[in-house]
């Protein structure tokens, strides 16, 4: 579904992504795991073109996203590429970025109406459907400020799903929540299995990654160090970096 090949991204003299390569399978829940500052969030943002990168290629649901160094795109081509990518890829931000002036329902209806030019009735039906899927029936008329952190995250998920993307990205979904809500998020993400979306989660939380992931990619130093099933990565890590991270983690708990 997603193939990342030798992606390089630098800010001035700082290299954030350093020839990152990995593949993500369709309709799986994949976690990109790694320590803070390893470039995993930047990687995620590259996947829906919130960030550009200089070298390498990302192929995503059949769309090829080239590095800017090789094939600089015209403004019109870039706009078209962005449009295509974002039609297929949704994102749930770390701090949700809900629209505070709209209700939960309004948040989920806005993009289908403005982007897909859906009628209000149709957009509302879809928005209500996904709000129900994430367990927010009865909260549709509330504004973000009237919702708890966990509920806000659910609105953000419903808002992304309402655009019916193939891929949904989650940036550190557990970091803004208190520990008791972390398990709930995991359950919620797994409850979406029947939608057959490709879910990509960025996290530094090993417990969470182990509990929810089909596939785990260990990320460090701007590249994917190791990739495998959750069982492989946690049970039998091959690379020294991965082992060190696990050891540090096990020592802590």
């Amino acid at each position: 579904m997603i193939a990342v090949t030798n992606v390089v991204k630098t800010y001035g003299s700082t290299t954030v992504l350093n020839r990152a390569s990995f593949a993500i399978a369709e309709a799986q829940l994949t976690t990109i795991l790694g320590p803070s500052g390893c470039g995993k969030s930047t990687m995620l943002r590259c996947l829906n073109r919130l960030e550009r990168f200089q070298e390498g290629t990302i192929t995503l649901a059949g769309i090829e996203v080239p590095g800017t160094a090789h094939a600089p795109l015209s403004a019109a081509d870039e706009r078209e590429l962005v449009r295509q990518v974002r039609a297929r890829v949704g994102i749930v931000f770390q701090n949700f970025n809900l629209f505070p002036h709209l209700t939960a329902l309004g948040n989920a209806m806005e993009a289908p109406m403005t982007v897909k030019k859906m009628t209000r009735t149709k957009a509302e039906a879809i928005a209500r459907h996904y709000l129900e899927r994430v367990g927010l029936s009865g909260k549709e008329a509330l504004y973000p400020a009237q919702l708890s952190g966990g509920q806000q995250q659910r609105v953000a998920i419903a808002r992304a799903l309402a655009m019916e993307p193939d891929v949904v990205l989650f940036d550190e979904p557990t970091s803004a929540l208190d520990p008791k809500l972390v398990r709930e998020v995991g359950t919620l993400l797994r409850s979406l299995d029947d939608l057959r979306k490709t879910l990509v989660v960025v996290s530094h939380d090993m417990d969470f990654a182990r509990a929810i992931s089909d596939q785990v990619i260990y990320f460090e130093g701007g590249r994917a160090v190791e990739s495998g099933t959750a069982g492989e990565i946690f049970g039998n890590p091959q690379q020294p970096e991965t082992r060190a991270f696990m050891a540090c983690f096990q020592g802590r708990s």
């Binding site: 829906n48 919130l50 970025n97 629209f99 505070p100 806005e110 993009a111 982007v115 504004y143 400020a145």
Partner: protein
Amino acid sequence: MTTRTILRALLAAAAVALLADQAAAQTALARVRTAGQLRIGTDATYPPFASAQGGDFSGFDIDLGRAIARELGVTPVFVNASFDGIFPALQNGSFDVVLSAVTITAERRAVLLFSDPYIDAGQLLAVRKDRQDIRGPADLSGARVGVQINTTAQFDLEKRAGVAVAKYNTIDLALLDLENGRIDAVVSDAPVLRYMTTLSFKGLKTVGDQFTDEKLGIVLARDSDDLRRAVNAALWRLQDSGAYARVYRQWFGETPAATAGPAADAGGTRLFDPALVSRTWRFLVRGVWMTAVLAALGLVLGLPIGLALALARVQPSRLFSIPAGIYVEVVRGTPLLVQILFIYFVLPAFGVNLPAFTSGAIALTLNSAAYLAEIFRAGIESIETGQMEAARSLGMTYAQAMRRVILPQTFRRVLPPLTNEGIALLKDSSLVSVIGLTELARTGQELASRYAAPLTIWPVVALLYLLLTFPLTRVAQELERRWRPVARG
């Protein structure tokens, strides 16, 4: 910097274009005959020469102007203008002549045309009745002396050593300050001082005789030589027929006509006079209306322009952001007064000749647009970047995200500074009086001088400004209340 200095600089820039323009124009007399009207500019805060109450003018200059127009076979149209800006307005064609107790001086002669003198008027001194040590101009050394700005009294005093000159917009303000004891004397045209001290400022007296020999003339623009000859001929005929003498007796005779009659009954200037308020009420309401319309236009037209400028400044293309930035800098960096003067007095040199109301409304609009642009820009930039990212990540274009996500939040946030700007605009609109628009502040000026009752008129004017700002504040409060659920977001 006085208005005069500003205007001189602005006009110098426009002089060349003006001359070229004039060559092509119709002669002044032909213009007056074609229009069937003689437009007479006057600063109607100067009884007994000219005073006004709404559109109703009276005074010696007014009656003389009517008689001259009758002689020319046309209708007189009086245009009220601040003395400060009256000559530039004459030159840009806002009126055909100025009849406003103007002394003929060499400096003015250098740039304007004068009719033959129509009355002799020297300068005279006024002091408080209890003051004995000032008996003539020789006693003024070390004294603080009030004058109306830009008058021959000012020019005369500035040549005398040791005299501190205090300049006032209208003569009644100078007299009031004298009565209050803040200055030692006032110098002005003899007929005006005699009139004012007899009828209104009863705590003051004139001292000695007039100490300059001045002649007042009707002023015309430089290209109006044929009109000048016609006006002179009219003046001679009025002298011969005795019509001039009748008008003179009416205003300067033993019993001067009581334009300011009501003030005379009111028994001086010390008291608040409710009866005067009820008599002048409809003029004040007209002033309120003019102020409200100007401010409303400035705000309503300024809002979309300001928003467009703000959007141009925050979007990434320099093609739009740089010009918008320059506009905002230039407009915010220059005084509104200069902008008003520029649009009204300088643009005509480039073929854009706008009426006073349009000029005032445009100046207020363009000025408020610059301030509103900065309010909107600050508002837009205060919205977290995550909002734009979230909207874009859902597939919205920049424009869609701006319209549907960023701006709705911006409007809620900028409501308080917008209200501020609206109130500021309401009060700043008083500056358009310099181009002769009789809004609330100018109405106050006129009424205060006509009735010599600043202590009655100005508190009422202040109260009316307060009443004008009140609805604006209420609308803002109502909007804030309605949007409260999301303000917490």
